[in-house]
């Protein structure tokens, strides 16, 4: 569905993507795990068409609806929790239902500055899920949430992604195995793929954690 062909991208003269080939098939959920600063986020932005490649191609379908959770929350500071969603054209009832699901039902009229870090993250998650679409790009979606909250939100994200195409960046093996059917272990910069296997090749999250710490 989305495909990068020989993608090359520099940032401030540093090579981040060095001739990367990557294909995201329709209906697959791909998780990328790798050390901080290896170029994962740049790869996501390249796949989503948010950054111009210096060389190479991005093949993406026309008329596809994409939804995002960025590494930063990127909420509108002048909009409350509810209108942060409706400002993007999300239906009001849909927004209210999603906010209730992530536990912000009582806080719909609060501005971002009145919400805690974890609540802001849940708001960003609610925005992405309520916006919906065919393809989801998630950059460390559960970052900054405590374990209890993660345990509630993770299954919700999983059910929202059913049948969709998704590209997920994470540091958490359990999150990767819960959500994804394909696991990419990466290094860099410049970004390179160490292992690209089905999620089923890891029996549990410990096995994946081992594979990350000693990838070769």
């Amino acid at each position: 569905m989305f495909e990068l062909k020989k993608a090359i991208k520099y940032f401030d003269r540093q090579l981040v993507l060095n001739s990367i080939d990557l294909f995201l098939p329709r209906g697959s959920i791909t998780a990328v795990l790798g050390s901080s600063g290896c170029g994962k986020t740049t790869l996501l932005r390249a796949l989503a068409g948010l950054t111009k490649l210096d060389k190479g191609h991005l093949i993406q379908p026309k008329e596809v609806r994409c939804s995002f959770i960025f590494q930063e929350n990127r909420l509108l500071p002048w909009r409350n929790a509810l209108t942060n969603l409706t400002a993007l054209g999300i239906d009001r009832d849909r927004a209210l239902a999603e906010l209730a699901t992530v536990g912000l039902g009582e806080d719909i009229d609060k501005l971002p500055e009145e919400l805690s870090g974890g609540m802001l993250r849940r708001l960003a998650i609610a925005r992405a899920l309520a916006y919906g679409g065919d393809v989801f790009f998630f950059d460390e979606p559960l970052q900054g949430l405590d374990i209890n909250t993660s345990q509630i939100i993770l299954p919700h994200i999983k059910s929202s992604l059913k049948g969709k195409t998704a590209f997920l960046i994470t540091h958490d093996p359990q999150e990767a195995l819960t959500l994804a059917d394909r696991i990419i272990i990466a290094g860099g910069p410049p970004f390179y793929i160490i292992k690209d296997t089905p999620a089923a090749s890891y029996p549990d999250s410990d096995a994946l954690a081992d594979a990350i710490s000693t990838p070769w």
């Binding site: 948010l50 995002f68 960025f70 990127r74 509108l76 002048w78 400002a87 993007l88 054209g89």
Partner: protein, 242 residues
């Protein structure tokens, strides 16, 4: 409230004391003399007409200055060449003494247009510079978010650009309304159009009616404060959507 009253009484008292020390109302009229001059002036219809027309001229200049300033800001933020082209013009306008413009305008324009023109020139560079800053400091992350969620140009403008620019715009409007008012009246004093506060000031000066000079000044200060209250606070609170 009581404290405010005390402050006002203190300064009026100081004014009265200075009057007693100077002892000549042609140099410094007392607060009471100023008040009685004000009452005398306000009995004439021409007084109110002068206020109305002066207000209209300055507000016309203020509004036109804002419109042109915003347009220049938008153009210079979208085209680098336009920015290079416009920046010396704005620097020159900012650095030129306002009197030079007024005197030039006396040669170029009709009398009634001069205060408008002067106010435009005061407002324009301030609005252009501030709105440019507002546009340029709009969060790149939010803009990318808007692009990613495929927002229309109109939604991007309404939800991201305008709220980012608003505080810069409000600051510019706040500063420039007072300056436009002063510059507009200064222009009126030099070109003395019929029915204008400037003409009232000018006449008071040549006939050495210092009490009337003070009365007109009180009128200007009051109007300036009223305009600021009515307009600027609305922009800051976001009730005027711009």
């Amino acid at each position: 409230m009581l404290q405010k009253l005390m402050v006002i009484i203190f300064w009026l008292g100081l004014w009265a004391l200075l009057y007693l020390l100077v002892g000549r109302s042609i140099l410094l009229p007392s607060p009471l003399q100023t008040l009685s001059a004000l009452i005398q002036l306000s009995g004439a219809a021409s007084f109110w007409l002068a206020i109305l027309l002066s207000l209209l001229r300055v507000m016309a200049g203020f509004v036109l200055g804002i419109i042109i300033g915003v347009m220049l800001a938008v153009i210079s933020c979208n085209w680098r060449f336009a920015k290079q082209l416009l920046s010396p013009l704005l620097s020159v306008i900012k650095a030129t003494p306002i009197v030079s413009f007024i005197l030039l305008a006396l040669v170029w324009l009709k009398i009634g247009q001069i205060p408008v023109f002067t106010s435009i020139l005061v407002v324009l560079p301030i609005v252009a510079a501030n709105v440019s800053s507002g546009i340029r400091t709009t969060s790149a992350q939010l803009l990318e978010m808007g692009q990613a969620f495929n927002l229309t140009k109109k939604t991007m403008l309404k939800e991201i650009y305008l709220p980012s620019i608003r505080p810069y715009f409000a600051a510019a409007a706040n500063i420039s309304i007072g300056l436009a008012w002063k510059a507009g009246i200064a222009a009126e004093v030099l070109c003395t159009p019929l029915n204008s506060i400037g003409r009232g000031l000018y006449n008071a000066k040549i006939y050495l009616q210092t009490d009337q000079l003070f009365a007109w000044t009180v009128v200007m200060i009051t109007l300036s404060m009223v305009i600021e209250k009515l307009l600027i606070e609305r922009i800051i609170k976001g009730r005027v959507h711009v």
